[in-house]
């Protein structure tokens, strides 16, 4: 397929999006996204380094997984080390010694989900300082200003996030419209549009009409990239898929599409089929801390006694530093991870390396399949592996969602 490229004109942009291929069956796409700190390949999974560090791994180790774009959380960095320190040091790249790209969220979602007393008004998010309990306010302008100081390559607008399952239609619509108004304030406040890319965030809950309205409004603002937000909040997977599918159909083809907070392997491959490009989730790294290894045959808990004498790698054939044999590989066994689990943090670090590699490698293989126009076959193999070929175990939501884009897992 011919490569097409597009650089938005009306709003300054610090990225270049090159669409390389479209799947001839599904809505999946493969693209190159060139950001201020180098190119990344889409579709893409982004590990979350909440406080400017990824669960014990050195930036060098994170780099070795192939990661070239990771997340930092604005809310956390705003508290520690704080804006003043970030300003003095010269931003988050310099703080953590990371040569590649960083994406930051707005801080709003974290605030609403972590702080019990957060309140949303037209001005912004009101909350009590976790330091001393004094009332504070996070406005769209503050969020952008903080992200400007952080210097992340992709910054996110402050949005009014409600759980998608909220039954309050009026409140949902208010949140969606407010998110549009806040986007305008974010655009106006953004000091570095030529070095940092502001992404809007589509809201509207599970109401497809509302999502469509939000897409129209936000696409008109012409941000360098577009996120679909408010998901991964406990909604039914089928509803999730409908929202993603609806939005991607309304979004411009020549911009990256980021679905926030998604990370389970089956969610990733289905979302890609529905036309999404970028994902992030804390789950792969968090679950490593509980002894869980993600493999193509499902998740394995290394704390289980059956692994105590299992001298195979965490995942057979895995190319991560932990599993790989030979030069540069450690050839770590399940038995050794079991031996360390819960007793030495190195056990968790090893699984973090494996899990991050798994997610990134999954997306590399997804991309390869799209480029070779065999993504439907890839999907079939993926679900076959995950459920040991037992089609009765395939999740209905995935089967249904993939049917809408021309892939029948059951055939």
């Amino acid at each position: 397929m011919a490569s097409e490229s597009f650089t938005p004109v009306s709003m300054p942009s610090a990225l270049r999006f090159d669409l390389l291929a479209r799947c001839s069956t599904t809505k999946a796409r493969a693209a190159n996204l060139t950001l201020p700190h180098g190119p990344v390949q889409l579709p893409l999974f982004m590990p979350v380094a909440t406080q400017a560090s990824l669960k014990g791994l050195t930036p060098e180790q994170l780099e070795a997984t192939g990661c070239r774009l990771c997340l930092n959380n604005t809310y956390h960095l705003g508290l520690k080390p704080g804006q003043e320190v970030l300003d003095k040091i010269g931003g988050a790249h310099k703080l953590q010694g990371w040569k590649h790209n960083i994406l930051t969220d707005s801080g709003g979602f974290q605030m609403v989900s972590l702080l019990k007393l957060a309140q949303i008004t037209e001005q912004g998010v009101r909350f009590l300082s976790p330091h001393d309990g004094t009332p504070m306010l996070l406005t769209p302008e503050h969020s952008i200003n903080l992200q400007n100081t952080i210097g992340s390559d992709i910054i996110m607008q402050l949005d009014d996030v409600l759980v998608t399952t909220s039954p309050d239609h009026a409140r949902m619509r208010e949140a969606m419209l407010r998110s549009v108004r806040w986007l305008d304030r974010c655009i106006a406040a953004h000091a570095n549009p030529t070095t940092q890319n502001l992404f809007c965030i589509i809201q509207g809950g599970l109401d497809l009409e509302m999502r469509a309205e939000c897409c129209r409004e936000m696409v008109a603002r012409d941000t360098p990239g577009i996120a679909i937000g408010g998901l991964s909040g406990g909604e039914a997977k089928a509803d999730y898929c409908r929202v993603v599918n609806t939005c991607t159909s309304l979004l411009p083809e020549m911009k990256p599409r980021y679905v926030m907070g998604i990370g389970y392997p089956e969610d990733l491959v289905v979302s890609v089929a529905l036309g999404a490009d970028m994902f992030d989730c804390v789950w792969p790294t968090r679950t490593a801390r509980f002894g869980n290894a993600i493999t193509k045959y499902g998740m394995l808990n290394m704390r289980h006694a059956k692994y105590a004498s299992d001298f195979g790698p965490v995942e057979e054939g895995c190319g991560c530093v932990c599993c790989r044999k030979g030069e540069g590989g450690l050839n770590v066994t399940r038995a050794f991870v079991h031996h360390l689990a819960a007793k030495e943090t190195v056990g968790a670090h090893l699984l973090t390396m494996h899990n991050v590699w798994y997610q990134l490698e999954l997306m590399r293989n997804v991309r390869k399949a799209i480029l070779e126009d065999r993504y439907p076959e890839f999907l079939k193999q993926f679900f076959k592996d995950l459920h040991a070929g037992d089609k009765s175990m395939y999740p209905d939501w995935a089967v249904e969602a993939l049917k809408t884009v021309g892939v029948d897992l059951m055939e």
Binding site: L54, P81, L114, R286, L330, H339, L340
Partner: protein, 481 residues
């Protein structure tokens, strides 16, 4: 290199040790040597081995060790591997290949493994040793380790170096009757171990932490069999000067299993002729958030100060929060070249595990540089003067720790008791997360516990058995990772 190099040739097994230089022909004096083990990188001595925990250097994955560590070997304790021995064969015994311990721990091949029965420092046991066995402390509780079993473990696991079983009573002061037995038992155990002829392991004979008169028979025996052992392992460096000054014993490499509290104590032991060290203060400085910062004999950059300089920097201090300086001006380690104080201060303050990993890399690099400078000094014949300079320039003790250690769990750490309060405070005090006792996963399900526990870390020494038992039961009743 040195003018009076004295090679003693190949010793039995696959290990060789040559003394490259001793200042004077006297048994107890600082000396230079080279330890060669087939398949591993040669180790220039004086030097140190990192102290492992469950086969890993705390905080460091083996790839990080491979990329950034300059130390040559890791001390591993058998008691970290055999908790399943009470119900069957410990998994490590079924690892295929020639070097099961190496293979199991994924240790890069050029590093040396040193196996000892017990951790350094070791937790004192509730029951004493017997004529045939010692008490050890595994992750599931106390166990008895018969010498016969220890011999089998060594033969099968093939560590590069192994310390023979010693009748050392941890935590109690042995009486006269007990002391009389210590040498006899240790000698018997060593004889049994040597009779098994472990092929790929060099055996270090333990020297007991008791007066040399009380173990004189054992020491004389060691002299008789010196060509069958490969080294001496000292539980107390003060016994070194009393070792028979025979050629056969003098040519053996000397390992210190003592617990030096500061660099000056290391220097003192080197002056006595010690070759290889295990140094608990590296790991404890790391856990305390202290970046070691000393060089031998004096600072690389001229200091105006006439007062003794601190041996390390407390990285918890907020004064580092915007400092782009390395942990130590003279250090070239990964933490100092790729990162800066501000990041490490941030990581500690945010309780991010990488903070301790970077400190661990740095603190090990500091000791590697320290030993390298010591070897240069001995080669130049200035070790004694340099040690005097060191004593004048630097403080004699490690800086006090102020910050909290890493969130840790483990059977080797104790609780301070009910009065201490929670040591591992949540990094995000009054946020919602963790308040209900668990983090939530992507589904919003509450996960039970964290990787990291809420117990404090400290020394088990001098603590009552009851409390210890309670603590490790508490630790092991938890199901969280």
């Amino acid at each position: 290199m040195a003018p009076n190099t004295e090679s003693h040739g190949q010793q039995p097994g696959n290990m060789s040790f040559e003394t490259l230089k001793s200042n004077i022909q006297h048994t107890t004096t600082a000396r230079l040597g080279k330890l060669g083990i087939s398949g591993r990188k040669d180790i220039e001595t004086p030097n140190f081995f990192s102290i492992g925990s469950r086969g890993v250097v705390p905080h460091l994955t083996p790839d990080v060790i491979s990329a950034h560590a300059q130390f040559s070997g890791i001390h591993m304790a058998l008691e970290d591997f055999i908790e399943r021995a009470t119900t069957g064969t410990p998994p490590v015994m079924n690892v295929p290949g020639d070097s099961p311990l190496h293979t199991f721990t994924a240790l890069p091949s050029h590093f040396t493994t040193l196996l000892a029965p017990r951790r350094t420092p070791a937790v004192s046991a509730p029951t004493g040793n017997s004529n045939t066995a010692i008490s050890i402390f595994t992750s599931t509780g106390f166990q008895v380790l018969p010498n016969k079993a220890y011999t089998t473990y060594i033969t099968k696991l093939s560590p590069d170096l192994a310390v023979g079983l010693a009748d050392v009573p941890y935590g109690t002061v042995p009486g006269t009757k007990r002391i009389a037995k210590m040498g006899d038992r240790t000698e018997t155990w060593l004889t049994e171990l040597l009779a098994a002829k472990p092929e790929r392991t060099a055996i270090f004979a333990p020297i007991l932490p008791i007066d040399s008169n009380a173990q004189s028979e054992y020491l004389n025996h060691l002299d008789d069999i010196a060509d069958r052992i490969h080294g001496l392992a000292f539980y107390d460096p003060n016994t070194l000067p009393d070792i028979p000054a025979t050629t056969a014993l003098t040519r053996l490499p000397r390992l210190s299993l003592s617990e030096p509290r500061s660099p000056s104590q290391i220097l003192r032991q080197i002056a006595l002729g010690m070759d290889i060290f295990t140094i608990p203060f590296i790991n404890s400085a790391t856990d305390a958030g202290i970046a070691l910062d000393f060089s031998f004999p004096s600072p690389k950059t001229k200091s105006e100060s006439t007062a003794p300089l601190p041996l390390g920097t407390d990285m918890w201090a907020a004064t580092h929060s915007t400092s782009l300086l390395p942990l130590s001006e003279s250090c070239t380690c990964y933490a100092c070249t790729a990162h800066h104080r501000a990041y490490i201060q941030h990581l500690l303050s945010a309780k991010e595990m990488l903070g301790w990993a970077l400190l661990q890399i740095h603190n090990h690099a500091m000791l590697s540089a320290f030993f390298s400078a010591i070897r240069t000094s001995i080669a130049a014949g200035t070790f004694e003067e340099d040690s005097d300079v060191f004593a004048r320039v630097w403080e004699s003790e490690m800086p006090e720790k102020t910050g909290q250690g890493p969130r840790v769990r483990g059977y080797h750490y104790k609780s301070e008791g009910p009065g201490e309060g929670k040591k591992n405070k949540a990094a995000w005090g009054n946020l919602g997360v963790g308040v209900d006792g668990g983090e939530k996963d992507a589904d919003g399900k509450v996960l039970e516990g964290g990787l990291v526990p809420t117990e404090g870390r400290g020394s088990w020494r001098g603590r009552g058995l009851r409390r210890r038992l309670r603590v490790y039961r508490e630790m092991h009743s938890r199901t969280s990772f």
